[in-house]
């Protein structure tokens, strides 16, 4: 099986890191993975996105027109990627910043108040991890122990104390993943 996930949001919302953690976890899980960022001047203050592929076979194209899942952390990202989700796929959107819900009915749409939950955890920077938690809950892409291993790898030595709050954010995201 091949799962493609597009993660998108403002520059600074941590979509690139969220994608890297998923890719790393996939690798730890023994899957074939790739991570591909959007790059260029449009990232300056605008929206950024990355595509993560987790597959059994070697990854072909690291970019896809119709991903299995989309995680949209802000309104422009939802506008850009809602129509791209493959029928039967998954769309996670950040309810905290997106007031009008997506309209597709042929996919699984999941709302998560990522910023609000992150705020409650005392660190708005972990909103990305809340969204990642929601994605993991709905898709079973990789087991939690692989995510933990990936987080340990991704956090620099002087930031290992952030592990707990990141894990809490993922857990809260998992619990909050409600299909409206």
């Amino acid at each position: 099986m091949t799962f493609e996930v597009v993660m998108a949001g403002f520059g600074g919302q941590g979509v690139m890191l969220m994608g890297q953690i998923l890719a790393y976890a996939g690798m730890v899980h023994g899957k074939q993975v790739s991570w591909m960022p959007s790059y260029g001047p449009e990232m300056r203050g605008g929206t950024a996105n990355c595509t993560v592929i987790v597959a059994d076979e070697a990854v072909g194209s690291p970019v896809v027109a119709h991903p299995y899942a989309v995680v949209a952390l802000n309104r422009p990202s939802l506008d850009k990627f809602e129509s791209a989700v493959r029928p039967g796929g998954v769309l996670i959107y950040n309810e905290s910043l997106i007031s009008t819900p997506p309209t597709r009915s042929d996919i699984k749409v999941v709302a998560v108040a990522a910023n609000q939950i992150a705020d409650e955890l005392g660190n708005v920077k972990v909103a990305n991890m809340v969204a990642l938690g929601a994605l993991l809950e709905v898709t079973d892409l990789v087991p939690m122990e692989c995510i933990i291993a990936a987080l340990k790898k991704a956090l620099p030595a002087h930031r290992q104390d952030m592990l707990a709050v990141n894990l809490a954010a993922i857990e809260r995201g998992k619990q909050a993943a409600v299909i409206p």
């Binding site: 890719a23 960022p37 260029g40 001047p41 990854v59 194209s61 690291p62 970019v63």
Partner: protein
């Protein structure tokens, strides 16, 4: 390091160079390869190597010229506009027969173009680019593990043939992350660099690094010597990979990141029972004519797919030599073809041959 690590293409290439014993890097910033010199600027001091940001690509390639002449394993990297500036120096390296590794993470052109992935530099890479009758060994990885392995190869091949080697990637390979492993490849027997300009205290007679041969018969002799070397490279170094070519009616020919996209297309076409295959040149020069022409009698048509307006397709046509139709599909300017596009193009070609 032998565990699998997730790395960006640009950084994986840089680390591979360090693992291959490269201790000198001269470069100049340009997107989409910036992570490569940035990685070198962090890593080289840790291994007592030298990272220097030159004032321009022209300066960078001439620093490479000097360092290579002095016998070092040396590398530079850039992207299309910067590689154009390096062409003069590359021609000198080839003329003076110096080993060096040059990385081109190609972006859209001509001119300032864009910073998105492209394969518009094929002609420049394989047909010269700079002046004079010279050739580069051109290696085109399609995934990051291959890129890592080919970097090691590149340094060895450069030393073996005393010739610059070009790694041709693109923005996609430079920017993407994939797991890679830095494994020890079997090491080759390499000739000692008795010609290096390290000072006469190190060798019995004076060494000169030079590409000037003023008398015509002398220069002709030198060029013939180069051609003889290129013929040896052509004989020994052609490399390609093929997938599902044994019974294929249509074979897609693609290299680098286009090939991995084409692979997705081939896999899905095979699932619907269509007999298509993929032929992927790994060396662009020497072009893998031998293995490609072996396919000719078995195949009904070829479809070359590139991220340009049609460059490698000329070499495919030369190899096929009119025996079969050679079709072309290209996206350019930073547009990346999707597997679906390639599939439908392939189906169109298949329809024509049935």
């Amino acid at each position: 390091m032998s565990e699998r690590v997730l790395m960006k293409g640009n950084e994986a290439i840089a680390e591979a160079a360090i693992q291959a014993g490269c201790r000198f890097f001269f470069g100049y910033p340009i997107t989409p390869q910036n992570e490569l010199p940035e990685y070198m600027s962090r890593r080289m001091p840790q291994v007592e190597g030298t990272f220097l940001q030159a004032e321009s690509e022209v300066a960078a390639i001439n620093m490479v010229y000097g360092a290579a002449g002095a016998g070092a394993r040396v590398m530079t990297s850039s992207s299309s506009p910067g590689i154009s500036l390096k062409q003069e120096g590359i021609s000198y390296l080839a003329g003076a027969e110096l080993p060096a590794v040059i990385v081109n993470i190609v972006r859209g052109g001509p001119g300032l173009g864009s910073i998105q992935p492209s394969q518009g530099a094929y002609f420049q890479a394989v047909k010269g680019g700079g002046h004079g009758d010279y050739r580069l060994l051109v290696l085109a990885p399609a995934n990051l593990q291959e890129a890592v392995d080919l970097v090691t190869e590149a340094f060895d091949l450069a030393d073996l043939y005393r010739n610059p080697v070009l790694i041709l990637g693109d923005g996609l390979l430079g920017q993407m992350m994939e797991p890679v492993e830095f494994r020890k490849l079997p090491s080759r027997e390499l000739p000692p660099k008795t010609w290096a300009t390290t000072g006469m205290r190190h060798h019995p007679h004076k060494n000169i690094i030079n590409s000037l041969v003023l008398d015509a018969p002398g220069l002709e002799k030198h060029i013939l010597h180069l051609q003889e070397k290129y013929a040896r490279m052509n004989l020994h170094e052609q490399r390609a990979k093929s997938l599902h070519c044994a019974d294929a009616e249509v074979v897609i020919v693609a290299y680098g990141s286009t090939a991995r996209i084409a692979k997705t297309a081939v896999m899905s076409l095979r699932q619907s029972g269509l007999k298509v295959g993929l032929f992927r040149p790994v060396t662009l020069w020497p072009f893998p004519v031998n293995t490609l022409s072996e396919l000719v009698p078995k195949v009904k048509a070829f479809l070359t797919v590139e991220m340009n307006a049609g460059q490698m397709v000329e070499d495919v046509k030369l190899a096929v030599n009119g025996a079969r139709p050679v079709h072309f599909y290209g996206r350019m300017g930073g547009m990346v073809p999707t597997p679906e596009e390639i599939s439908s193009e392939c189906v169109r070609v298949l329809g024509g041959v049935r």
